[in-house]
Amino acid sequence: MRLFPRLRFRTKLNVGMSAILIVMALLLLPMVGTMNARSLVEESKMRGAALAESLASRAVDSILARDFLRLKNMVDDLVEVDDVVYAFVQDTNGHVLTHTFHQGFPTDLLTVNTVAEGEPLHIQLLADQTRRIYDFAAPVMVSDGRLGTIRIGLSKVRIMRTVQQQITLMAGLFAGALILATSLGTIFARRVTARLGKLRSHAEEMLTGNLNTQSGPESGVHCWEMQNCTTTECPAYGEKRRRCWYIAGTMCPDCDNEGSFQCRLDSCRLCSVYRENAGDEIQDLAETFDVMAMSLKMHIDELREAEGNLREQQHLMRTILDVTPDRVSLVDVTMRYQGCNKSFAQSVGLSVPEVSGKTDFDLFNEAEAEERHLAGRDILEFGRRLDTQMEIMDNGVKRWFHVVCIPVLNEKGAIVGLFRTDRDITDIKGYENQLIQAQKMESLGLMAGGVAHEINTPLGIILGYAQLLQEDVEIGSQIHEDLIVIEKQTKVCKKIVADLLGFSRQTESAKREMCFNNSVLEAVSLVRHTFEMDQVEILTEMDDRYPVIYGDPEKLKQVWINLLTNARDAMNGNGGTILIRTRLDSPAGIVSVWVADSGEGISQDALEKIFDPFYSTKAVGQGTGLGLSVSFGIIEDHGGEIQVESPVPEDFGFPEIEGERVQGTIFEVTLPLDHGSDTTEELDEVIEE
């Protein structure tokens, strides 16, 4: 039963028309055939009667004249007619005057049909072995007398053959009509199905994404041409792909744009443009289809644009999320992860998509998962945000994280998830500890400064008295020697006290225009002699352009001395070479100084901590660990950078010692030529004030 719906439209149309014609034929042919047969039989009877009566009237003269030849000719003429089987003439006594039979006369015919007196005609159906015959008997009348009888036999077979021919003709006509109707129907259906096929192919093209198809006819007159319209701002003006009645907001005075689309169409039906261009339902469908395709294309373009924007936004958001080192994640109320950033995914060893749908127990060890889960459940239940710091084992290393977990609310205010960020604050924790330590050291420094200040005076008095006493005692005496020792140790104490005072002194920054090379060379000249005592040679490669910077000469000198001292200490008393080089980089607006030594070098672990306060590789009592951190602070204060590298790079051009390359260490200090940052800071201060 599924066959009919699967049939093509053309076939259905043909089957329908054929069915109508067949039913008509089945209904009409028997009825018409019967009517036709009856009418033909009646017609034949009438014809037979006419023939008989005609012969009866024509035979009068011949019977009267007993002209048998003429009578014979008359009856012979009759049988030349197709369906006349026989004809004969009887006189008043029933004797046959003439007949058309060749071999005798069939005597059965003499009495089978008689016409009574007063009757104009009698028709009798006869049947011989093979056929049926209508026998017509007509009296030959003259005046009031009767001369005889005319007998004519009409073959019913021939009548029925005629009936059959008629019905065959009608059946042929029906068959012809059927063929014609199916042919015309096929042509018509082809035209219709071609248009429907075009629509279908366009629909298929639409499915493949081609929305630039044109299903409707391109012919027709456009409204602006037909109406001689000059309203170029009308949306229908210049529009060739859509009929004006499909366009909203047309400005034609005949258009009714107030009502609904249907009302508009009602007004359009009266418009000459509509009457000129409107077609049948299929054209309407095709045009509506085109309008739909255009609208769809427009909406798809808008959607694509929106999608592009959304993708850009998403990409931006993803970039922001992925770039941030914080571990960002979002879970739903079932505590399943809905999303995360790259940092979070990397921390759990998965890709971002793999995290979706997982729970804490899938991502973390049991203890941590339990902790996170309970914290999350608590927030989901009470809606309180979590803001805490946690120490977590991360790849076997203890790290500090600042955890913020915020409930996500929908527009109704209900909690629909949790947003959590884990920020790695291990470094900040380190700085925090360092700050605490620095604060301790500052307090200690202040205290030491105070103590030193207090001790300095008694030491001065002790030194003064010791020197005075030396004048009072004999030179070379034990007392004198002892006093020299006292003086010497007191000076040592004073030096220590002076250093302590120097370190703890809160001196103001005194920056000014200064010669960079001179600052370096002053420091070199200060230590050169002392270093030479320790077999340490200082080589200088100064930039001959004598760059000028804005800085604090004293503080910078302290930095250079510190670096030179560290370089000397790196030799471990074995002596060596220190190369100090300055270079001006005008385009970059910086000046650099490199202090390289031929010492043992520094390990990688030590390099990371070298600028930390109180970190020292020297033996206890030989260094405070403050030198480089103080130097770092001074350089940062000048807007510069200080870096360290060990061993010395080959391309630096350090002179080889005894043909061997040295390990050594190289410090690079970069300072800006201008002092814009300070100016900016000053400006900021002014604004704040």
Binding site: I22, D61, L64, H95, D108, S143, I167
Partner: protein, 317 residues
């Protein structure tokens, strides 16, 4: 493949339709007889022998009209004569005037009823007049008429007939040829002055044929026996024919007995004829059917004026 299947289904359905129609045709052919026929065997044949005609006195009417008209006019008269005389009379129907004359001459016609013109030839063949009719006009004589179409304005008088096409009844017709020819002769028109002179085709109905030929315009003028227009009144458009002229009266139709016919028979028939009375109801029908008012005795000398006319026209040998 699906398309091919569908096409096969459609083609099959069309063939089925044609078969249905043919079947229907057969069914219709089979169910159309609804009468009970009489069985006959047309193969049982016999050679028929015509019945012999009984001996009878033959009576013939000059075939100026069709045989049917001749029969209709005289059947009652013959029946009357049979009953009155007791003689076996039979009307026979010669096809032409010539045949009539020859049959009288050969003795095949015993009693001839002919016009005066033919009678002259019958008399020459030995026949003898014994009775003549009283015309419906009540006179024992009759006239010929020259007719033309009423709308023929070119013929106003007899002289206008010169150069015209003329149709006459028969060369042997008295009223339809001989008498009008005499009239034309008297008006200085001979037979050669006509554009054409034709005679009505036979056999029978010749008077009517003249009228009809003039009416359809095949001929300009026609000549007929007076009274013919009444006979053809139902066959022509009323008023279509105009009578241009009439001839003088000549003795009417004549009954003649063939040479050698038994005088007793002649007298029996003549008496019966003379006994017919137009006022008698029974006789009235007989006489009016025959277009006769009565039958009166006649002798050959009554037809001398006709002989003179024929002689004048040079028609007698």
């Amino acid at each position: 493949m699906k398309d091919v299947k569908m096409r096969l289904i459609v083609a099959g359905s069309k063939i089925l339709v044609c078969c249905l129609l043919v079947g229907l045709l057969m069914a219709l052919a089979a169910c159309s007889g609804d009468e009970d026929p009489i069985r006959v065997d047309l193969s049982k044949r016999h050679t028929l022998v015509a019945p012999r005609q009984v001996e009878a006195i033959t009576y013939a009417y000059l075939p100026q009209y069709s045989h049917t008209t001749s029969y209709e006019r005289h059947s009652q008269l013959i029946e009357y004569l049979r009953q009155t005389t007791g003689l076996p009379l039979r009307q026979i129907f010669p096809d032409t005037f010539d045949e009539h004359i020859k049959m009288v001459a050969r003795g095949e016609i015993d009693i001839s009823y002919s016009n005066p013109s033919v009678y002259l030839q019958l008399a020459d063949a030995g026949a003898a007049a014994f009775a003549r009719i009283v015309e419906p006009s009540g006179k024992p004589d009759f006239r010929g008429q020259i007719i033309c179409r009423r709308d023929n304005t070119s013929i106003r008088k007899i002289e206008d007939c010169k150069g015209k096409r003329w149709i006459a009844v028969d060369p042997g017709s008295a009223g339809g040829y001989l008498f009008p020819l005499g009239l034309f002769y008297d008006h200085g028109i001979s037979r050669g002055d006509f554009k054409a002179v034709d005679f009505a085709p036979g056999p029978g109905g010749k008077q009517e044929k003249v009228v009809l030929a003039v009416q359809v315009g095949a001929y300009d003028i026609g000549t007929i026996r007076k009274g013919t227009l009444d006979v053809v009144a139902g066959k022509i458009t009323q008023g279509a024919i105009r009578v241009l002229a009439e001839t003088r009266a000549y003795p009417g139709w004549v009954y003649a007995s063939r040479k050698g016919l038994d005088p007793k028979v002649v007298s029996l028939i003549a008496e019966a004829m003379f006994a017919l009375d137009y006022t008698n109801k029974a006789h009235h029908s007989i006489l009016s059917n025959a277009g006769i008012r009565g039958i009166i005795p006649a002798k050959d000398a009554d037809y001398d004026p006709v002989r003179e006319l024929a002689d004048k026209l040079g028609l007698r040998e």
